[in-house]
């Protein structure tokens, strides 16, 4: 890894300094690849665990751990790109075209809210992650309402809100711990 950081950056000679590393396009692309791969693995692991709570749409969202970490270590734009790439690839591999639409709605809304709250700085990583989890569910519910042209989602809403809190909190706690340990690593 040390050697990797020392690699000269040819694409952005002005900015990517050899000693600090991390800001060059090469490093960014490499880390983006690592995170995409990790997110896909997490998606796969999650697809292996079928948990049914009687209500569809509830899952831990392990891959969102990577999105939260990336949001804090990089920026909102790249986290959004990671989220979209992850959803499309995982969707084609482990699910279907239909679920991609739902995931995209949830993922984009969730990331927009997380980026906004992170910028405001009034919440910790856990709070931001909780908001993300809740909004992920809300986004999916909205698309579901549009898709089936019904407003009969009353019973789903409270369950999905609470599920968003729980999953968002779990992801947030882990993300906060990981970020604490990644403090000295810039990428």
């Amino acid at each position: 890894m040390e050697e990797f950081h020392r690699m000269p950056c040819r694409t952005e000679p002005g900015r990517g300094s050899i000693k600090t590393g991390g800001t060059g396009l090469k490093n960014r692309a490499a880390y983006f690849g690592v995170f995409t791969a990790l997110a896909l693995i997490f998606s796969y692991v999650e697809s292996l665990i079928p948990i049914y709570f009687g209500v569809p749409g509830i899952k831990l969202g392990l891959a969102n751990l990577l999105i939260v970490i990336f949001l804090y270590k990089r920026n909102a734009k790249e986290a959004l790109l990671l989220s979209i790439v992850r959803i499309v690839l995982a969707g084609f591999m482990f699910a279907n075209l239909f679920s991609i639409l739902y995931s995209l709605a949830g993922g984009i809304l969730s990331l927009a809210v997380m980026a906004f709250l992170k910028k405001r700085g009034t919440f910790s990583v856990i709070g931001v992650s909780i908001a993300g989890g809740v909004c992920h569910n809300l986004g999916q519910l909205l698309v579901a309402m549009l898709a089936v042209e019904t407003y009969q989602v009353g019973y789903y809403l409270p369950v999905l809100l609470n599920a968003g809190i729980v999953t968002g909190m779990l992801i947030g706690i882990v993300a906060a711990e990981v970020l604490k340990r990644l403090k000295n690593i810039t990428f």
């Binding site: 042209e149 809403l157 369950v159």
Partner: protein, 122 residues
């Protein structure tokens, strides 16, 4: 965790709680029926107290027994609606997203709707 985080949790949980309380405290109607719609259009209404099995467009099967409705079969790969718990309260619904089918419980008598179910019920 910051104080704001807790406020956020309490706020969202409160909203969920209010929604749930409104739904659960609503007086239950004595006579209920099962309404099935496909792609936003009414497919048929069925008496919740009459045990029957309804097949919808050869893609899904709904079973009504002992006052509850349940999706027993679906041809889609994800099977989310099949794993959905059975429904019996007014307003509860099972949604099959790939086939755009909504099975919901509504109040009222099946005969006063004026719409005869055009499905084959057996």
């Amino acid at each position: 965790m910051k104080k704001n985080d807790w406020i956020l949790i309490i706020l969202v949980a409160a909203v969920a709680g209010i929604f749930l309380a409104v739904l659960l405290l609503r007086p239950e109607e004595a006579v209920r029926q099962v309404e099935i719609s496909v792609d936003g259009e009414l497919y048929g209404r069925y008496d919740l107290n009459e045990d029957q099995e309804i097949s919808i467009n050869k893609t899904n099967k709904v079973q009504i027994s002992e006052g509850t409705a349940k999706m027993t079969w679906a041809e889609c790969p994800d099977q989310i609606c099949v794993h959905h718990k059975e429904i019996s309260r007014t307003g509860e619904s099972i949604i099959c997203l790939p086939n755009k089918i909504v099975v919901s419980i509504i109040g009222g008598d099946a005969t006063d709707g004026g719409i005869s179910p055009d499905a084959v019920s057996n």
